[in-house]
């Protein structure tokens, strides 16, 4: 800060920091805008989570004649009807849909990732094509996947509107996520591991499966968890592939997942309360999967 030196005043010469180094008005305003935006982002998240939870959690309980709070077990009745609005079938369908879809996307995604990271020559045309198409798949919106699933699996392959058709569609949708994360995690494994394994006489395949893959596992698991979050939250791609059946569905039956259940409840203009309850469960699933994947990713980075 420069101090005015009046004539005749004695003392040390002014060596304080020149005024230019203080943040200018504009820069300071921008910094405040940054802080404001961050607060807004956090605030929005808090608003959404609190709004859903505060409205939804009370929906799981009711007050009986004696005034005691009791759990609304009808929300988890084995069969859905328009009176109990049970979410249990949808919850079970969500689990089986997730398992089925991962059954397709995990082996193929991990296998493809292994090829890209361990076997392929990075400069080959084929690898470039695989990368471009994986990126394309990741960018395709879910409504296009809905058309794809309907035209290919439901109509052309004659699977019909069923859990299987839905799972195949979502498997394709989550494939690029798992493929790319597997490749990245494998790339992150130090070369010395492979060299050590070769030095001990192991072959390429054994080295990859026994040494490299286990080290990369947390990263791959994180991608699987993110996929679980995506599958359980997906609506548009499922409405025309696995449909909106309200029962606990087998492989060839139409069945709605929780997200589709919430969507249908809204479309039919049914009970707001039950919708809030479903939203809470969906939110919990997503928070859980996110937290686990963050934890696993951290484990990977501290190990590496």
């Amino acid at each position: 800060m420069s101090v005015n030196m009046k004539a005749g005043q004695t003392g040390a010469p002014d060596i304080s920091v020149p005024a230019r180094s203080r943040p200018r008005w504009g820069a300071r305003a921008l910094k405040w805008l940054c802080a404001f935006s961050s607060a807004l982002t956090l605030g929005i998240l808090l608003l959404i989570v609190l709004y859903i939870c505060l409205n939804g959690i009370p929906e799981f309980f009711y007050r009986d004649e004696a005034g005691v709070f009791r759990f609304k077990s009808e929300l988890f009745a084995l069969r859905y009807n328009s009176r109990n609005l049970s979410m249990l079938p949808a919850l079970i369908n969500t689990l089986s849909m997730t398992g089925l879809a991962l059954l397709f996307s995990v082996p193929i995604g991990v296998g493809g990732g292994i090829y890209l990271a361990e076997y392929a020559k990075p400069s080959s045309k084929l690898v470039k094509l695989i990368r471009v198409t994986a990126e394309t798949l990741a960018g395709i919106p879910s409504i296009i996947y809905a058309l794809f699933g309907m035209l290919v699996f439901v109509v052309t392959l004659k699977i019909g509107i069923s859990m299987l058709a839905g799972a195949l569609t979502l498997g394709t949708m989550t494939l690029p996520l798992i493929l790319r994360q597997t490749e990245e995690s494998l790339m992150g494994v130090p070369m010395s591991y492979r060299e050590g394994s070769y030095g001990l006489g192991a072959g390429k395949l054994r080295t990859t499966l026994r040494i490299v893959l286990p080290v990369a596992m947390p990263g791959i698991l994180a991608a699987v968890l993110l996929s679980i979050g995506r599958i359980s939250g997906e609506t548009a791609a499922l409405v025309f592939t696995s449909g909106t059946g309200t029962r606990i569905a087998g492989l060839s039956d139409s069945g709605r997942t929780l997200a589709v259940h919430l969507f249908k409840l809204q479309e039919e203009g049914r009970a707001v309360g039950a919708s809030f309850a479903v939203a809470v469960v969906l939110l919990i699933v997503v928070v859980l999967m996110n937290a686990l994947s963050v934890y696993l990713a951290k484990k990977l980075t501290t190990k590496g």
């Binding site: 943040p23 940054c34 935006s37 998240l45 296998g111 090829y115 919106p141 548009a236 025309f240 963050v294």
Partner: protein, 276 residues
């Protein structure tokens, strides 16, 4: 085993090929009955009278996406700058999972939130019936925030530390160095984040369907309802047949071309960044 791994990797190529083939094979027959020009420039959508014009939906998609970018991009980029350069480590450790959570919330939950809270709020404060371009834009802005924040933050962190230090050494303050030296160098990375958000906004379906009102006509104000390309497919595919069904697949084809164009733009920006 190598062959098996290779085959798995090629499933991506197969999937993209099949998606393209089936969309084109099922969408193109529609243009035997109606010209492409009429389809994308027609202002009327009346499937019962065999009038198929998707201009209102194209306009709807663009208007809502533009609104989402105008609201979401500045907030997202500024938040990213905060996280990369100003916030304490502790704050960043809080914000990263928060942003990841925002990215993970399903679109149907966003839609439900918008319908229950934002729609009545808008109806009571700004008028109209609440199901509007405005609410859809706000909701989409929230939904694309994490995409923009994560990409921009990574881009800002990737700027070499020497740029920042050089600026400090020339006498600039911390703030000036960040805004004048670091952020401009991350420009193309930030831009690619915004383009990624744009792609997500154009393709979003469920959340938009729940709050946008879905009237298939050209809007004349931001408090009016509008229908997007994505919503048009989801809304009518359930009961459509024959020509109507083909027209919906053709709508999907138009959307697909738009999204591909956005993806191309994204990889173009990225490639230029790598060359730089």
């Amino acid at each position: 085993m190598r062959g098996l791994f290779l085959a798995s990797a090629c499933v991506c190529i197969l999937a993209v090929g099949v998606i393209c083939f089936f969309l084109i094979a099922n969408g193109l027959p529609f243009f035997r009955q109606s010209s492409l020009i009429d389809f994308i420039s027609g202002t009327q959508w009346a499937p019962l009278r065999n009038i198929f014009g998707i201009l209102p939906m194209i306009v709807g998609s663009f208007v809502i996406t533009l609104g989402a970018l105008l609201l979401g991009a500045p907030i997202g980029v500024l938040t990213a700058i905060m996280m990369a350069r100003f916030a304490s480590n502790k704050a960043v450790r809080l914000m990263k999972p928060a942003v990841a959570l925002l990215a993970g919330i399903p679109s149907v939950v966003y839609g439900f939130f918008g319908l229950m809270l934002l729609v009545p709020f808008t109806r009571n404060t700004l008028g109209g019936d609440g199901l509007s371009i405005f609410v859809a834009s706000v909701l989409l802005a929230i939904m694309i925030l994490p995409t923009i924040i994560q990409t921009s933050e990574a881009a800002i962190r990737a700027v070499p530390e020497s740029y920042y230090e050089g600026s400090l050494a020339l006498g600039a303050t911390h703030e000036a160095s960040v805004f004048r030296a670091v952020v401009p160098s991350a420009r193309s990375g930030i831009l690619s984040g915004i383009v990624l958000g744009l792609g997500r906004a154009i393709g979003e379906t469920t959340a938009v369907l729940m709050v946008a009102g879905n009237q298939a006509r050209l809007p004349s104000g931001i408090l009016q309802g509008v229908r997007t390309l994505t919503v048009n497919v989801l809304l009518e595919m359930g009961y459509a047949a024959d020509l109507h069904r083909e027209s919906l697949i053709a709508t999907g084809l138009v959307l697909f071309v738009l999204v591909m164009a956005v993806n191309f733009l994204f990889s173009f920006i990225n490639r230029r960044r790598v060359l730089q």
